[in-house]
């Protein structure tokens, strides 16, 4: 009974991603989209918190939103998987529910 969580807010501007990770259960997936993709970067002031909080969930990022913002895939933190829109659909289909953290 796993959940797909989506987050579309920058973690530097808004605590939504941190709250989402604090509520996600082991085995859930968290997909960062729109301005949420900045949460997937390595070497930031939030990287340690992301690694700790995101340890028992699967982390994904929408690659099209990364490219739009000029963030190279090489900047992704360890353990984050980049997906395209088809991958987004697969994630939604393969989980029991989707929870959007607006």
């Amino acid at each position: 009974m796993a959940t797909l969580h989506t987050v579309n807010k920058s973690p530097f501007q808004n605590p939504t991603l941190i709250s989402c990770l604090g509520h996600a259960k082991a085995g859930d997936a968290v997909l960062m989209i729109e301005d949420g993709v900045y949460g997937a970067m390595n070497g930031t002031a939030l990287s340690d918190a992301m690694a700790t909080l995101g340890g028992d969930v699967s982390l994904y990022v929408l690659g099209d939103d990364l490219a739009a913002r000029g963030i190279d895939a090489a900047r992704l933190a360890d353990g984050v998987t980049s997906v395209d829109y088809d991958g987004f659909v697969d994630l939604a289909a393969n989980h029991d529910r989707t929870q959007n953290w607006l």
Partner: protein
Amino acid sequence: MSEQVKKFLYVNRKAPYGTIYAQESLEVVLIGAAFDQDVSMAFLDDGVFQLTKGQDTKGIGLKNFSATFRALGDYEVTKLYVEKESLDERGLTLDDLQNIEYEDEDDDYAEKPSIRLVSRAEMADVMAEQDVVLSF
């Protein structure tokens, strides 16, 4: 009409594309540039993400407005203040940002960088010396 030139600062604190703020700011700057005022732009917090190079918006169906920053010099908008602490917190350096230049008409049209890296304290000083501050 008064000939007095006022100092205008446009403060950018939002990332591009997720909201309309960044693009609206650029629109207003370009409109305001027609009025011959002393215009500066400040980029802090998530606003520094507006200036990243290599933006490619084909996949999200939105206009890529990042090239517009390189045209600002033609409108005599030549002071883009970027806060170092905001870059650091986001794992960015100047190398991650676009190269934005203007031609200095007082120096034989030499090309000079528009981006000025400043500390948080220096950004506070820039803000404090303005006549008008517009926030986006």
